[in-house]
C-alpha cells in the first residue's frame, strides 16, 4: 500500500499528492442543502455537479439534489447567461423549489460570468420565488471556504435588519454533520435559547425513510429565518475559520454582533458554547447538561490509562481538526501531527496555541498540506492513532495504525453523519471510538499470555 511514497520529505512547489481538501463548490452545495426547499445550482460543466452530488451522497448515504447549467463549448465562448436563464425556468417548472442557490465553478469564474447581473436580468422567476448566488472559484480556498461563501451569499441577498431586534441568537454551526447540528440545537434547547440555526442540514441529509420520496424534507433553515438573521441580537459563529467570514458579512450588512467560538468539540469548547448560550439567554445551566459534562469527565478519568500520552495524527478540515486536537489534549494524548489541506495560516496559529496551552512540545501543525506529506511524517516518526477522514485509510493500512473516522468526507462507513462529535455527548462518543480503536489494537497484538479479560 502506497509503496511509491518515499520516507525522505522533499520540498514540492507545484505538485499536490493525495489532497486533504477539495474545491469550493461542494461546500457551497452542502450549505445550500441546509436551507429549506432550496435547490443548489452549479453554474458550470455537468461534471462538477455530478461529482459534488456523488460526493455528498457517498458521505451522507442520502439523496443530494442539485442542478447544473450544463455548459458546453458554446457557453464558454458566449457566456453562461443563457444557460442560467433556461436552467432557472426549468428548475422552477419541474422541481418547484422556493429558492435556487447558484454557486459558480472554476469554469464560469474563468470566463468571467457576472452572476449579479445575470440574476438581476432574470425575467422568469415566479412570484414569491427567489434566486441567490455566491462566487466559489475552485482555484482558491477549499470546500470549507465555499461553505462560508454560500452562507454569505444567502445573507447578502436575504438578511434584513428590522428596526427592532427579534431577541434571537443566530447559530452558525460550521461545516459539520446533521448529527452535530442536531446536538447543538438540543443543547441550545436545554439552555432555553431562542435561536436560528443557519444553515441546518438536520432533517434534510438525515431524513427518515417513509416509503415515499420527498425532494424537500422538512429540515433546513427557512427563508424567513435567514431574513430574520439580520435582526438577531447576536450570532455565535462556531468554527472560527469557517463561520467568521459569513458572520462578518452579516455584521457589515445588518450590524449584528458576533462571537467566534471554536467548534464545540471536547470539554472546554463545549463549555464555551454552553456559557455563551447561558450568557445570552440569561439561563442557568440545567442539571441535565451539567450531568452530561460530569459523566464525560468521569469516563475520561476511568479510561485514561488507555490513551494518556498516546500520539495521534489528526487531519481534515481546519475547525474540525482544532476541535479534535482540543479534545485529545484534554484526554492527555499528544496530537503529534495536525494537518489541514485548506490554505489558512490561522489554523497553524490556533493549533500551536492549543499545544502551548497544554505544554505539549514536538508536534507539527500545517495548513495547505496534503496526506502524502502526512504519510512521510508518519514514516519518519510513527503515531499510535490517526483521526480523520476516509482518505487516510491508505496510510493507516500502509503503516498499520488504527484509524478513527471523523470529519468530512467519510465515504466508507455508515451512521457517522447521524452521530455528533460536538457537545459532551459527542465527546463521549469520540472517547469511545478512540478508546476502542486503541484497546482493540492492544487485544489484537497481545500474546496469549498477555491477553486480558478485564481491562
Amino acid at each position: 500500500m502506497l509503496d511509491a511514497t518515499p520516507k525522505e520529505v522533499s520540498e514540492r512547489k507545484a505538485l499536490r499528492v493525495n489532497p486533504c481538501k477539495t474545491c469550493q463548490p461542494v461546500g457551497a452545495m452542502y450549505a445550500a442543502l441546509g436551507v429549506h426547499r432550496c435547490m443548489p445550482h452549479s453554474h458550470g460543466s455537468q461534471g462538477c455537479c455530478s461529482y459534488h452530488r456523488t460526493f455528498l451522497a457517498r458521505h451522507f448515504k442520502e439523496p443530494a439534489i442539485a442542478t447544473t447549467s450544463s455548459f458546453t463549448e458554446g457557453a464558454c465562448v458566449f457566456g453562461g447567461g443563457s444557460n442560467l436563464k433556461k436552467a432557472v425556468k426549468n428548475i422552477f417548472d419541474i422541481y418547484d423549489p422556493d429558492i435556487i442557490a447558484v454557486h459558480t465553478t472554476c469554469l464560469s469564474e474563468t470566463i468571467g460570468d457576472d452572476l449579479n447581473s445575470y440574476i438581476q436580468q432574470l425575467e422568469n422567476v415566479p412570484e414569491g420565488k427567489i434566486v441567490v448566488h455566491t462566487n466559489t472559484p475552485s482555484y482558491s480556498g477549499s470546500h470549507v471556504t465555499g461553505f462560508g461563501n454560500m452562507m454569505s451569499g444567502f445573507i447578502k441577498y436575504l438578511s434584513k435588519a428590522d428596526a427592532v431586534k427579534n431577541g434571537k441568537i443566530g447559530i452558525f454551526p460550521g461545516f459539520v454533520n446533521p448529527g452535530d447540528m442536531r446536538e447543538m440545537k438540543r443543547i441550545a434547547g436545554l439552555m432555553k435559547t431562542d435561536y436560528i440555526m443557519f444553515p441546518d442540514t438536520s432533517g434534510v441529509l438525515d431524513a427518515p425513510i417513509k416509503g415515499h420520496y420527498e425532494m424537500y424534507p422538512k429540515g433546513g433553515t427557512k427563508i424567513e429565518e435567514i431574513v430574520a438573521l439580520g435582526s438577531c441580537e447576536k450570532v455565535l459563529a462556531l468554527g472560527e475559520l469557517t463561520c467568521a467570514p459569513p458572520a462578518i458579512t452579516l455584521k457589515s450588512k445588518c450590524d449584528v454582533d458576533f462571537d467566534s467560538l471554536p467548534l464545540p468539540i471536547g470539554i472546554e469548547a463545549t463549555d464555551k458554547y454552553v456559557m455563551a448560550l447561558s450568557h445570552f439567554a440569561k439561563t442557568e445551566v440545567p442539571t441535565a447538561l451539567e450531568d452530561e459534562r460530569g459523566q464525560l469527565v468521569d469516563v475520561i478519568l476511568d479510561a485514561h490509562p488507555n490513551f494518556d500520552k498516546k500520539t495521534v495524527a489528526i487531519y481534515g478540515d481546519p475547525d474540525t481538526v482544532l476541535g479534535l486536537a482540543s479534545l485529545v489534549l484534554e484526554m492527555g494524548m499528544v496530537p503529534k501531527y495536525l494537518l489541514t489541506g485548506t490554505p489558512n495560516e490561522e489554523f497553524v496559529k490556533k493549533g500551536q496555541a492549543l499545544l502551548d496551552k497544554f505544554g505539549v512540545e514536538g508536534c507539527k501543525v500545517k495548513a495547505n498540506g496534503d496526506l502524502f506529506e502526512l504519510h512521510q511524517w508518519i514514516k519518519n516518526d510513527k503515531v499510535d492513532l490517526m483521526i480523520g477522514t476516509t482518505h487516510g485509510k491508505y496510510i493507516a493500512r500502509a503503516e498499520d495504525i488504527p484509524l478513527v473516522r471523523a470529519g468530512f468526507p467519510i465515504l466508507d462507513r455508515y451512521v457517522h453523519s447521524y452521530m455528533p462529535l460536538v457537545g459532551y455527548r459527542g465527546a463521549m462518543r469520540l472517547l469511545e471510538l478512540i478508546c476502542n480503536a486503541l484497546m482493540d489494537r492492544r487485544d489484537r497484538d497481545a500474546k496469549d499470555e498477555d491477553f486480558e479479560l478485564v481491562m
Binding site: 499536490r16 477539495t22 460543466s45 461529482y51 447549467s69 482518505h391
Partner: protein, 537 residues
Amino acid sequence: MNEREKILDKYSARVFKNRKDHIVELDDSGMPKQIAANSRSVPGLMVNRGCCYAGCKGVVLGPLHDVVVLTHGPIGCGYYSWGTRRNKGRAEDGRNFMQYCFSTDMQEPDIVFGGEKKLKQAIKEIVEIFHPECIMICSTCPVGLIGDDTSAVAKWAEETYKVKCVAYSCEGYKGVSQSAGHHIANNGLMKHIIGSGNAKPDKKFAINILGEYNIGGDGWESERLLKLIGYEVISVFTGDGSYEKIKNAHVANLNLLQCHRSISYIAEMMKTKYNIDWIKINFIGIDETIRSLREVAAYFNDPGINARTEEVIASELEEIEEDRAYYREKLTGKTAGIFVGGSRSHHYQNLLADFGMKTLIAGYEFAHRDDYEGREVIPDIKLDADTKNIEQLTVEPDNRYYHLSIDKEHFDALKEKTDLEYYAGMFKDMGDGTITIDDFNHYETEKLLELFKPDIFYSGIKDKYMVQKSGTPSRQMHSYDYSGPYACFKGAINFARDTYMSIFTPAWNYITPPWYSKPTLEGRIGVEAIAGGEQNA
C-alpha cells in the same frame, strides 16, 4: 395517455420539444425505432451525466496502475476521481499509482498568468519523487480557457526526462457528456501508446480485452476463463491495465470488445492500422458469456480451443448449477429498471433474463444512437457541433505490425452469424411496451418509479437513495455497491445473490410503523372515558 406521454406531460413546450425524442416506447412490431442521443442536456434538469474529464481521466485512463495521471487544474477534479471508481488493480512491484491522486492544484495566479510553469514544475517533481515510466496529463475546464499548451509541455517532458508523457485536452465543457472524454482518451492512447512497444505479432491465440474496466474484479474473472481456454491476454483496456502492456497491444490477433461505447474507436483504429479484427462480446450474463466464448472460439477455429471452450463452459455451469436454480426460482417474475452509462443497461438485461427477471425500463446516460439502435445506424448519424469539436483521428496501416487476418470467406461467414465487428444495440432485446430513456433525469426517474413500480432499480449513487426512500430496492451498477465480480458464470451468481438480498432484506418490512395499522389507544364506543385518558381526566 400512455406511459411515455405521462412522463412528458409536465414539461414546458421547449423542454418537451427536446425530451420527446429521447424517450421511446418499444413494441414487438419489428419496426426500427429511432432515439435522440449524445446531444446536449437541458440546463436545469437534474441529469446524471458527468463531463469530458470524467470520461477521459475517470473512466479510461484512471485504471492504468503504472501511469502517473496528473490532473492539471484546481484541486476538485483530481480529488473526486481518486479511488472512486472501483477499478481494481494490482501492481507486481507494489508501486500502484491508482492509490494516489496527483494534481497541480491550480491557484488564482496560475489562472491569471497561465499554468504551464506550474505544470512543468509538477512533472519535474513527479519524476524526481516517483520515477514513473509514463505520465499522462489531463486538463480540466480552466486549462483550455486560459490556453495552456499541455501538449507542448508533454513534449518538453519527454525530451527533458526521457519518460513517456501524453497530454489529453479533456476539459469538462467539451462534448456533451463523459463520452467525449472516452473518445479523447482513445485518440491519445492510439497516437502515443499502442504500438510503441516493440513486441512482434507472432502469437497464435493472442487477444486484447477492450472496454473492460475491472469494476469489482470483472476483468479478472473474464481473464481467468479466457486463460483457462488457452488464450493469451496481451492487454486489457484498461481495467488493471498498464502502460507496460498496452504499448504492445498491437500484437494481439483479435480484440474483444466489452464496452462498445467507451472504446469502439480504438477497436476500429486498430483494425485499420494493424488489421486486427474485433468482436463484440459480453461477459455479463450466463447465456451471453457462453455465446461470447463460442464466438471467439469460432473466430480462431482451432479444434483445441473449441474443445477447451466447451470444457470450461461445462465445468463452470456445473459449479453454479445449484445456485443458479435457487436464485432463478426466487427471482423469476421480478421486474427491473436499469439506467447506467453507455453499455451496461443492455448487458445486464441479459443477466436479469438469466434469472427470469424482466426489464421494464432502461436507458443510458451518455450513449450514442448506435448503442440503442445498432451499428447499422452509424452512417445515418448526423454529427452536431459538439461532436465535431472532438478530433476524429484517422490512422494509416502500419507496415511493421500489420497482421495477416483470417481469410475473407471465414470472416464473411462469421459476420453472418456472430457479432464480429457488429453491435446490435439495446432496442432489439426490448419491446412489449417497455420504455427507453436517453440521458434520464431525476424527475423522469421519479415518474418511472411511479408508473412502472419495478421490484428493483439499478442505477448510480445519485439516484440510489432517492429510489430507496421511495420504497424501491436499488443497487448501484457503476460500483456494484462495493460487491462483485458480476462477470461470467460465478459473477452471475454474485449478482443474483445481491439482487435477491436487496429485494428481500428484512428492513423493508419495517418502513411503516405498526401504529399506522393498529390503534394504540383502546376504548369502547359509547363509554366516555378511554383507557389512558382516565388518568388525565
